[in-house]
Symmetry: C2
Subunit: 403 residues, 2 copies
């Protein structure tokens, strides 16, 4: 059977140090519609080509005045001005405000020439074109100045900015409809093994449906990548080699399966022949049979065949690298600080990943065994137990990484 | 100009109580491919139609044995068994294991008839078909039992489950390719005002580009909704009425604009004629001119025209309702607990929303004025200052809702 003895494993801190220096941020960019750019990352800084707002505008409903005309006005002492026109938003003033006059003005409407302040409607009384002002205003009061939001020539969205609804609004405020963003890293996903069958197919005796492709596909998208699903491949050395060669054209390769030592050997042989294997086992539970290699700068993860450790290792090791490659600041994950409800034990010398379900401020352990995907499906996230900790008592505050 | 005096405003707790009883969860469902169902919500429970795994399988590489045959084995005392075959994963055993025999078996391969345990490869020595076992195993040891993950008839994914990569893997493990999920609530987005122009168009004097449609579109998607962008409408009563009638066919309506009191009157008149206005102003800064109405069960938000308060009110008030309508448990937002670096003052009697930028464990206030979208774009999130707090000193620990 070609079994080999237990391979050497490395501590996960060592693995993380290796992974931290692999996976280059992608440099390719593409233009996308602003409306669909949420979550994408700016590849080329957007420079304001105009002032925003483009003109001085009223910040309140009221009357555009010369501030000096309101000097001495107070609730007890109204000063009378003559209204020369009313300016609605979207309209253009037709006359300048001169001494002794004012113009009715709506929020957002352009301030007419001559006026340098707006008196709020609440501090006035009007009778036809006669307006009494009961408040002294300072120059610029209740006026949004041209360029106060953005000045022409200013960088509106810097390179590497992650686009949020507010940042897309900045582009829209400049009249922009497309943005130059980094392409998503392309991530090849390859499930291997004679025992796996694509969902929707028919199982023969001894076979199971492939859950890893589906899980990895969704997780890749959630961390800024573009999944490229390779055809599933059996435990055949030549077919596997061909599959790897196709996958290695992408930015990152995730393969899973080869759960037996013999099957792993095929993958290790193929990868050694093409590049460098950095580690082939982790001091981690679950998730020990994990390979990392790079082939001409393309990082390759060999994830465990069992769906639970495949997916937790995706979160623990692949997600940080993928986010970095996608120019995203850190894994797009939520964390919760909660109280562990029940005691959990952990094997000595192995870092452990423990799925939990959240119930209010409590975390309830839901681990069954590493092969059982329902344990992960019933969990809301997981916490980590360092290798030197053997027991986490009930009541301990733990940091849960949410799925 | 038809100005009205300052309308009555209500405290935000009162507004939240009103909003909590509006917005029915959608009941419409649709079938989607499992691969694209991430983040969707199960509308019809998925019941396992088979056991997962479908057969007893080896959890380790090793030898399938009758546990009783290994009785008395120890590191010092090997027990010899005769290997009758080797079972790879995906293959079918050809013979039963009887007393004195064993079968080589790879992780994931089906356990042959007669065998009831697996001895790990590490605890054996092999010479051709002669295998020496140095460990006594108990029945079921190192075997993943048929149905240990899911038993036929069991609910694999309950209704209202939010689909994560792990939960999609459960569907895949059952061979499922499509899931019945709730439809996303359809959210009409209507920007109004004579002053606004769609990005990509040409500005006349006194006009600005519409930033709200873009911001709301992205925020609606982020909270589980399907945006339905209505054509922008000027401050014309009849055009506005027609636009509302179209929008009211959707599940939820968001309109923004009508920044002046006069413009707001149009919308209030139209909505009063069709349904009930629950509030038309909030004791909130920014975000005071906010309307909430319902028309035959369709919730209608009138959001401020200025992009900052439009978007913060989207997060504060619309997002919780939209998530509820989408069967999502709560706004899909991350929160950060951080230290406020600089003092912030807040107007008495008005709840305030304050944008901040995060710098490590610190939150740096970035507020300019409510009209300035760059203040929000430079922020990573916001925190809230209750109405009765006038000053938040530097060093205060605040809870930041992330954009």
């Amino acid at each position: 059977m070609g079994y080999r003895p237990d391979r050497k494993t490395i501590p996960i801190d060592e693995a993380r140090a290796i992974l931290a220096v692999h996976g280059e941020p992608v440099s390719r960019a593409e233009r996308v519609a602003v409306a669909s750019a949420s979550g994408r990352v700016v590849a080329q800084a957007l420079v304001a080509d105009r002032d925003v707002p483009p003109f001085d505008r009223a910040a309140m409903d009221g009357f555009a005045v010369r501030a000096s005309d309101t000097s001495g006005a107070s609730p007890d002492r109204g000063i009378e001005l003559r209204r020369i026109e009313t300016i609605f938003s979207g309209a253009t003033p037709i006359a300048a405000v001169v001494a002794g006059t004012c113009a009715g003005i709506a929020t957002g409407a352009p301030v007419p020439d001559g006026a340098d302040a707006v008196v709020m409607i609440e501090h006035t009384e009007r009778d036809g074109d006669r307006v009494r002002v009961f408040e002294a205003v300072a120059p610029r009061q209740n006026i949004g100045r041209a360029g106060s939001d953005l000045v022409a020539g200013e960088i509106a969205l810097a390179q590497d900015t992650v686009l949020t609804p507010a940042r897309l609004a900045v582009a829209a405020a400049l009249g922009i409809t497309e943005l130059e963003v980094f392409r998503r890293p392309r991530v090849a996903i390859l499930s291997t093994g004679d025992e796996i069958v694509a969902p929707g197919g028919r199982l023969r005796d001894g076979q199971i449906f492939d859950a890893n492709t589906t899980a990895l596909e969704a997780a890749v998208i959630a961390h800024g990548g573009e999944p490229v699903v390779a055809p599933r491949t059996g435990d055949d050395r030549e077919a596997l080699a061909r599959a790897f060669d196709l996958c290695l054209k992408e930015d990152l390769v995730l393969f899973s399966g080869g759960s037996s030592v013999g099957e792993r050997d095929f993958a290790l042989d193929i990868l050694s022949a093409r590049g460098r294997i950095h580690f082939e086992g982790l001091q981690l539970k679950p998730g020990k049979p994990t390979i990392f290699a790079d082939v001409d700068g393309v990082p390759v993860f060999g994830l465990p065949g069992n769906p639970v450790s495949c997916l937790t290792n995706m979160y623990l090791f692949v997600a940080p690298m993928l986010c970095r490659m996608a120019h995203l600041p850190s894994p797009v994950q939520r964390e919760a600080t909660v109280r562990l409800r029940d005691e959990v034990v952990s094997p000595k010398g192995r870092h452990q990943v423990y799925p939990v379900r959240l119930d209010g401020e409590d975390a309830i352990p839901v681990f069954k065994t590493s092969g059982e995907i329902t344990s992960l499906a019933r969990a809301d996230g997981f916490f980590e137990i360092p290798a030197d900790v053997e027991r986490v008592v009930a009541g301990t505050i733990v940091q849960v990484v949410m799925f």
